[in-house]
Symmetry: C2
Subunit: 407 residues, 2 copies
Amino acid sequence: MSAPTAIRFADRLSNVETSAIRELFKLLGQPGIISFAGGFPDAALFDVEGIRAASERALQHDPAAALQYGATEGYPPLREQLAALMAGKGVAGLAPEQLIVTTGSQQALDLIGKTLISPGDKVIVEGPTFLATIQCFRLYGAELISAPIDGDGVDVQRLEALIAQHRPKFVYLVPTFGNPSGALLSLERRRRVLELALRTQTLIVEDDPYGDLYFDAAPPPSLLALSAELPGSRDCLVHCGSLSKVLSPGLRIGWLVAPPELLAKAVMCKQFSDAHTSTFAQATAAQYLQGGRLGATLERVRQVYAERAQAMGAALRSELGAALGFVPPQGGLFIWARLTGVGRSGAGTALADGHELAQRAIAQGVAFVPGRPFYASAPDPATLRLSFATVGVERIREGVARLARAL
Amino acid sequence: MSAPTAIRFADRLSNVETSAIRELFKLLGQPGIISFAGGFPDAALFDVEGIRAASERALQHDPAAALQYGATEGYPPLREQLAALMAGKGVAGLAPEQLIVTTGSQQALDLIGKTLISPGDKVIVEGPTFLATIQCFRLYGAELISAPIDGDGVDVQRLEALIAQHRPKFVYLVPTFGNPSGALLSLERRRRVLELALRTQTLIVEDDPYGDLYFDAAPPPSLLALSAELPGSRDCLVHCGSLSKVLSPGLRIGWLVAPPELLAKAVMCKQFSDAHTSTFAQATAAQYLQGGRLGATLERVRQVYAERAQAMGAALRSELGAALGFVPPQGGLFIWARLTGVGRSGAGTALADGHELAQRAIAQGVAFVPGRPFYASAPDPATLRLSFATVGVERIREGVARLARAL
């Protein structure tokens, strides 16, 4: 379809392709499909009554604040609640003025791109990393470089070499239960990342939407929390948080913590991006957090996701055996797996292409996302992402059985 | 304050200055100040009960839709309601798929910038125009060219010459009760603008947040509505709408109508800007519009603003006389005025600098915004913007009396 002659698009659009997984998603509407393809929490776990009551209190308490224009930085009572939430996660001494509210953490990523990336700038991301981050940064003209990861998160030695080679504008990491990798950056590596950032004066963006979704033990402290151990390192840190995975994505409440100079520029950019995040949603979230229900909500959510992750892991091992390698996740929404190319018994050969398996799987009535689009460069075509978050345990077993048939 | 060495900002930030009016706004918190400086609707007129009930229905009706991730294009029932709203304003045959929901119309502007503006591209705006548009487009590297306006809106002959000279990426107009000008583009000029757009294949962006706030007769149809008269002209039109001035800014509900190729690119950009607009706010707005209360709300709002505009106009004439020239607005939130440099009786000389008057006015306990920052180029320093929207009639009279003392 060619555009009318009056329309001439901006050059930046040529940096992004339409998503390769979009076609797959179109097939998800087919009846009877069991979907491991989603990247969202289970709506059945939302605390609808708690949110309804919070919204009602917000409108009773101060209707003008909930419905009028608000400060670009965010609704002050929400900034206080979010600072308290961060304190509860080990981030000491964070004043409400040191964070701004964003329209989901996706907007935090957009503001990071807008304030920092000039066309041609280099940015290091994990390989694989969050799909929408790749596209978001590319729209600002970034050249993305992938740092390899394993089950313990990013390979710090390789990261150091890439920083020395490319002098990136910043490094983007999802250290805790990343999407798609599910990987957990170890405490020892977290300390090395901070030390590396400080020594090389490299800005690190820590995206942390999943850190609260642990199954058993809490993960190591965030880079932001750990920065208290290493004086000066907080000046090299940007942190993105979100209520989307723990409370409700529909509120679109995220936040951004950054050094004051960067935060001020992000506020200016936000002013011209959407003026401010919905005060109606912000006042509702503030009332919800103040009401103290998040702890109980999180406990319920963690338990359900832990059961589903456990069920999926067990089913994958029993149904696909040696044909599929994966590190069982300790939290989050995803199992990241790799087709080994050998049969389930460990003998013979089997399909080792995630995209082809995805197509066969649809035919068997089960969907997932092949790993390729999650790489900014050098994709591993044998990888795949399976989300267990929105499917009940019985359906997970049935879905994995279908996957085994597809293989 | 210099940034930590780890932070290197993007080049685009050097295209914008921090707002010249920000200092003035800091003074507004002083006790007793009567403020004509705001650019927002009166929170006392919000239909709080209607919005509360709509929100409750949204959560009862389909809590998952109101709280889960949603389509980037917008919540389908809201797109239907907005298409119906546009049909009620004379835009025939607009399908819900031909508009997308944005996070306030500010985001529509941002998406227009992101999809269309490459650094160095020329864009024609009115002089004066909406402040946040100037900064928004400059962040994408636009070079802005001002087309002069009068009480009947943009000077079409001058606009035609500027288009021929600069071949802009697009022209941005606020044809109806513009901010800050309050001007109303006449029907005859609207037809000429459409004809000009079609003939020169120039994209026109029509920003229309104020069109429903008329005081007496309804304004001429929007460019989008009129485009039905001139086959092919709709392909040259982009239209931004908003619920902010008529229902509530805090919901952050705007929309964008554009040719399909442009709308598709805007959706892609929005996906990486904030994923989607709050579904909680969207579902609430959809229920509100479906409930049919907007008509009554608008009637009340129009009546109050008309009284205030009338009171301010009369007070300005009686207190400042020949010292101040202005065209009484027929709608919107603003009186745009110009210091003539002569005394109130028409004899002698008086102050003709809006910025200086603003500072003197603060000392007298009244605030407004001087006109200078609303110009992308060649500012007229004698201009000023006075908002009557949030001040009662008695206080308007008192405020204008203070303004006269300041002069």
